[in-house]
Symmetry: C2
Subunit: 201 residues, 2 copies
C-alpha cells in the first residue's frame, strides 16, 4: 500500500531539489538550529537516506541553503541591473526598491545570511563562509556601482550603504516593515549626496 501513487503528478521534481526547497523554507522560517532533519524529510516526503545521499551532513545542507539564497539574490540583482544599463544611480535606486519590497513581505524574517551567521558562532562552519562571501560580494558590487557614478572614494560610500542595507534587513522584522523600505531609500540618497563632488540628485 504505497502512500502516494508512484508516478504521481508534480512530484517528478528531483528529490534533491525537493529537499532543498523544503529545507530552505523551514530553515528560513524557524531557524536552522530549530529544524531537525526528521522534520525536513517528513515535510519533503522523502526518505532520510536520500537526504544523506545528497548532503553529507546537516551542516552541509545549511550551507547549501545559504549558497542557494546567495545565487537567487544575485540573479535578482543582475536582472534588475540589466534594466538600467549604464545608469548606476538608477540601478542603485532600483535595488533599494526591490530590496525594500522584500522587507515588507509577510513572513519576512531578515537576511538569511545574517541569521545563519548569528546562529552559528563557529568561524569554520561551512555556512558562515558562504555568509561572509555574500556580504563581501555586496560590498564589492556597491563599490563598483558607486565608482561608476564618479564618487570618490567609492569604498567609503559603498561601506556606508552596505551598513544601511544590512541595517534595513535586520530592522524590518523589529520595526514596522513597510517603513524600513522608505527609510532605506531616503538614507541612501542622503549618503550619495553627501559624498558626491558634483551633486546631481
Amino acid at each position: 500500500m504505497p502512500k502516494r501513487a508512484p508516478s504521481d503528478t508534480s512530484q517528478t521534481a528531483d528529490v534533491r531539489e525537493r529537499i532543498m526547497e523544503t529545507a530552505s523554507a523551514l530553515f528560513y522560517e524557524m531557524g536552522a538550529r530549530a529544524v531537525g532533519v526528521d522534520l525536513v524529510v517528513a515535510r519533503a516526503g522523502v526518505a532520510k537516506t536520500s537526504l544523506y545521499r545528497y548532503f553529507r551532513t546537516k551542516d552541509d545542507l545549511v550551507a547549501a541553503f545559504l549558497q542557494r539564497e546567495d545565487e537567487d539574490f544575485w540573479a535578482k540583482w543582475d536582472s534588475v541591473a540589466a534594466q538600467h544599463p549604464g545608469a548606476p544611480l538608477q540601478q542603485l535606486e532600483a535595488h533599494c526598491d526591490w530590496i525594500g519590497e522584500r522587507l515588507a513581505r509577510p513572513g519576512y524574517r531578515g537576511c538569511p545570511q545574517l541569521n545563519i551567521a548569528a546562529e552559528f558562532s563557529d568561524e569554520t562552519h561551512p555556512a558562515r563562509q558562504v555568509a561572509i562571501a555574500h556580504k563581501a560580494e555586496l560590498r564589492a558590487r556597491l563599490e563598483s556601482l558607486i565608482a561608476e557614478m564618479g564618487i570618490q572614494p567609492a569604498s567609503r560610500a559603498a561601506g556606508q550603504i552596505a551598513l544601511l542595507i544590512n541595517g534595513a534587513f535586520v530592522s524590518a522584522q523589529i520595526l514596522e516593515p513597510d517603513e524600513a523600505a522608505g527609510l532605506l531609500k531616503q538614507a541612501v540618497k542622503a549618503i550619495l549626496n553627501a559624498q558626491a563632488p558634483k551633486g546631481k540628485a
Copy 2:
C-alpha cells in the same frame, strides 16, 4: 572532600548573579541555542537545582540575559549623554564613538538583541519581547535627540540612523570590525546634514 573551601574568597557573590554572568557570557559568545544548562552550571560552579530555583525555564534565563544587556546598554548611554548636557549633536556623536568602540572589541559578535531575535523565531518567546522593546527604545531615544536638534521630521532621521546603527552591529562581525566604526560616524553625519534645515556641521 569539598571541591572548594566553604568560605572561599571572591565566590561569595550571589549564586544568582554568578549564573547570570556565566550564562550571559556563554549565550553571547556561542549563541543561546548552542549552550545547554549543564554547561552553564558547570562553568558557574553551581548546582543545577540552583539555576532552576532562580529561573523557571531556560527561556526565562535567556530573557533575563537580554534584559540585563538592555539595562547595561542604557546605563552606558545615559552616562555618556550626561557628559554633554543640552548638546544633542555632541551626544549623538559620542554615542557613535562608544558604540563604534564596542564593534572593534575582540570577540565582538553583534548585538545580543538581534542575535537572539534571529535564533528564536517564535514571536511569543519572552526574549523576543525584550529585543523588540530594546529596539523601540533605541528608536525613541534617537528621535528625541534629533528633535532636540531642531530637525524635522525627527522620526525620519531617527529611523535612518537606527538603520545605520543596527547595520553597524551586524556588519562589524562580517566586515572588518574597526572599519564599521568610522563608516557609522561618517554616515550619521551625512544623514544629519541631508535633513538639517540649518546645517551647522
